[in-house]
């Protein structure tokens, strides 16, 4: 892998400075409402550096990262730092709350589906039930034991913070930027890590506007091409980009970690607004995972969202 480009491009977009950088294989940006370029540059540096730090620490592609260390422990208990312990505990809570639908140990399933999809060009095939059955015992976060800072995974189990990392980085980097110094705390800043957005309080009388395409209103929300918000986070999960077409049938990229099969009839896209990017991101994923019951779930949980079918 080539070394990632770690530069920040700063341009003035009155009344903001727009910082553009690349992290987690996504185009990222930050809108910073300060006048002074030096100050904007410092804030942008804080945001990007935090995103890169989290990318380096948790990417499963980094051999030296913590994810690799966990996945290569081969059944042996390993000691985690406090941040990773907290993230893992968070993942366990997500697993519990979603009744096993949100599982950071489900990555092996993707390998099977991707493998069968790629197997022979033009001859995509469904994985056999047997091959799926074979990996199911390696999935299920309840099998992981976290005691204090010590984590023990069953042999062969793999975890991936990919489903949490970007949202976590967005929330963390914004908070870090606001904590930077006293005058930053009230600065209007929007962080966008590849479509996962989180913003501090907007400028007075000038809420954040984001555009999103091809949306249909949830039955109790107003349809709007533009979403307006004062602060908080907005994320979108979608299936439209990534699908497997096998025997003329399309299978969503979303896999149910309990059955090993793609989720049936997931919405095309789900956009969620929540106070933090992590909440928004997890909720949009969870709604998607409900498949045909996405709307019912969102309604019952009173989640502020826009679901596109």
């Amino acid at each position: 892998m080539t070394a990632p480009n770690r530069s920040i491009h700063l341009t003035l977009r009155k009344p903001f400075w727009l910082a553009q950088f690349s992290a987690m294989a996504c185009p990222c940006e930050a809108l910073i409402a300060v006048d002074d370029k030096t100050q904007a540059s410092q804030i942008a540096q804080v945001i990007a550096t935090e995103a890169w730090r989290i990318e380096d620490k948790y990417s499963r592609f980094t051999k030296t990262g913590i994810t690799a260390a966990i996945n290569n422990a081969n059944g042996q208990p390993i000691t985690l730092d406090d941040e990773t312990t907290a993230l893992f505990h968070y993942a366990q809570q997500l697993y519990e709350l979603s009744d096993g639908l949100f599982d950071i140990s489900a990555g092996v399933l993707k390998n099977i589906w991707a493998f069968h999809q790629k197997k022979t060009a033009g001859q995509q095939e469904l994985p056999s039930q047997a091959s799926i059955q074979a990996v199911l015992p390696l999935i299920g976060l309840t099998k992981a034991k976290l005691t204090g800072n010590t984590l023990a995974l069953p042999k062969g189990m793999q975890i991936d913070f990919g489903g949490i990392g970007k949202e976590y980085a967005a929330d963390k980097s914004l908070r870090l930027a606001l904590e930077g110094n006293a005058s930053n705390a009230s600065t209007a800043i929007l962080v966008n890590l590849g479509g996962d957005l989180v913003a501090s309080q907007s400028l007075p009388k000038r809420p954040w506007h984001i555009g999103f395409n091809d949306t249909k209103a949830d039955n109790n929300l107003t349809a709007s091409e533009r979403l307006t918000f004062q602060d908080g986070a907005v994320t979108t999960s979608g299936t439209s980009q990534r699908q497997w077409v096998i025997d003329g049938k399309s299978y969503s990229h979303l896999l149910n970690p309990k059955t090993g099969w793609p989720v049936l009839n997931p919405p095309k896209a789900v956009t969620v607004a929540a106070p933090t990017c992590m909440q928004a991101g997890m909720l949009s994923t969870l709604i998607m995972l409900q498949g045909e019951h996405a709307e019912t779930f969102a309604h019952n949980e009173a989640i502020k969202c826009w679901i596109t079918r």
Binding site: L97, A185, T259, L286, F297, N300
Partner: protein, 435 residues
């Protein structure tokens, strides 16, 4: 819960959901996220309390002095909802005119309780100088969006002082139209007041008895106020908005000031006695308010408004209020303020009555606030912004009031100042912060 039923036939989720939805997935997630990211997030937007504190000092030359500490806190709740609570304490001391006109001789009056008397030297305006009052007012207001374009606000307020209690309710609805560029609003407020004057409620037009508590009819009385407001706010450009309001107010019940009297004067202008004032028991007001608020330069704001008020007591008034917020730099601003107020007196306003009248008019009052006068307020506010949305400000203003003199028996107005000018200074220190 419906979720269980609809999901049950499917393979994915049954039992655990029931467990999870006890708290709700979204609520559980919110808890877990807060635990991960920290319980006291540094987001400015999460600092949910906006607190404004201020102490106002008002002093009229030789008369009333008021000190009013105020604390107002607004909590921002999820979903653009706001909750405000405000506490104000008014402390007034000093002397206030009792309504009687100055005289060539020393005048003796009864204190409101009737237990004591006080004297006013010749040619001076009679002032009740034992005036002392403390008022505490508490109010709370809740604002929430009902939809993307509809907002609701409702509140309760209560205030109490030793001779006066008030409870009020208000509701407002605001509707945004035209891509949030036009806002229509409608509000209704109801107040119920209970007045319990010291020494009882004087019989209107009856004579003030000196040194005894006579001519009283009962202990207390009530007053109700209904206010209706209709308004439209229009965004003219991103830097300019205008507002137009109409308000209607209806008061009924006990509208007298129990401590005010009117002098009965003989043909030389010498006081023959004092009668308690008598105002109508109803008052209907209408007012039109226009305002323009515009941004200039970087952060400067020019705010100008005009109000026309008219009521069935005959008080017509015009108010022009203008302020310019001049943002000197990131941390300092200066806001000059100028207000001009002019009112025509109430139909029944008198500065004294001819004692030889066989029958007094049904309604009379010598309360200078109901007279014809002009008032000018001028001053400035200086603000210092620092740290995390903190602000300290200082406001210093001067209020000057000039009244019209009526022709009194014996041309008393030529010998004495029957409507003295008022000169007051207003100093306010404020501190705002978030937490």
């Amino acid at each position: 819960m419906q979720l269980d039923k609809t999901n049950k036939p499917k393979s994915s989720c049954t039992s655990r959901y029931r467990h999870a939805t006890k708290l709700g997935v979204a609520a559980g997630l919110a808890q877990a996220t807060t635990a991960l990211l920290g319980t006291a997030p540094a987001l400015a937007g999460d600092k949910s309390w906006d607190v404004d504190t201020a102490v106002l000092y008002y002093s009229e030359t030789d008369r009333v002095t008021a000190v009013e500490p105020v604390i107002s806190a607004t909590k921002k709740l999820e979903g653009d909802r706001f909750w405000n609570i405000k506490l104000a304490i008014d402390s007034l001391t000093g002397a206030t005119p009792n309504g009687a006109s100055p005289a060539d001789e020393v005048q003796t009056f009864s204190t409101p309780s009737g237990k004591n008397t006080y004297q006013t030297p010749e040619s001076e305006l009679p002032l009740d100088d034992v005036f002392k009052d403390t008022r505490a007012a508490l109010s709370t207001q809740y604002t929430a969006p009902l939809s993307d374009t509809l907002r609701f606000s409702g509140g309760i307020a209560a205030s109490r002082e030793y001779d006066y209690q008030s409870v009020a309710l208000n509701v407002n609805i605001a509707k945004d139209l035209n891509q949030h560029n036009t806002t229509l609003s409608a509000g209704l407020a109801l107040a119920g007041d209970r007045i319990k004057p010291v020494g009882g409620k004087p019989i209107p037009l009856s004579e003030m008895t000196i040194g005894s508590n006579g001519n009283k009819e009962g202990e207390d009385d009530n007053k109700t106020v209904t206010d209706l407001l209709l308004g439209v706010t229009q965004v003219m450009s991103p830097r300019w908005l205008v507002q137009l309001n109409y308000s209607f107010s209806n008061q009924s019940g006990y509208l007298n000031d129990a401590y005010k009297v009117v002098s009965l004067l003989d043909s030389d202008g010498a006081p023959q006695g004092y009668v308690y004032e008598s105002r109508p028991d109803k008052r209907t007001k209408h007012s039109i308010f226009m305002r323009s608020k515009s941004h200039h330069g970087k952060d400067n704001i020019f705010d100008i408004s005009y109000r026309y008020h008219t009521d069935d007591w005959g008080i017509d008034s015009h108010t022009i209020d203008t302020r310019y917020r001049w943002q000197l730099n990131e941390h300092h601003y200066l806001e000059p303020h100028l207000r001009y107020y002019q009112q025509a007196g109430a139909d029944f306003y008198v500065q004294g009555l001819d004692a030889s009248l066989t029958e007094l008019p049904a309604n009379i009052s010598a309360d200078s606030r109901l007279g014809e006068f002009t008032g000018t307020t001028f001053g400035a506010k200086y603000g210092y912004l620092f740290g995390d949305n903190k602000e300290i400000n200082l406001r210093i203003e001067r209020y000057k009031q000039t009244g019209e003199h009526q022709t009194l028996p014996g041309n008393l107005q030529d010998r004495h100042n029957t409507f003295p000018d008022l000169d007051a200074i207003i100093v306010q220190v404020g501190y705002s912060f978030k937490f």
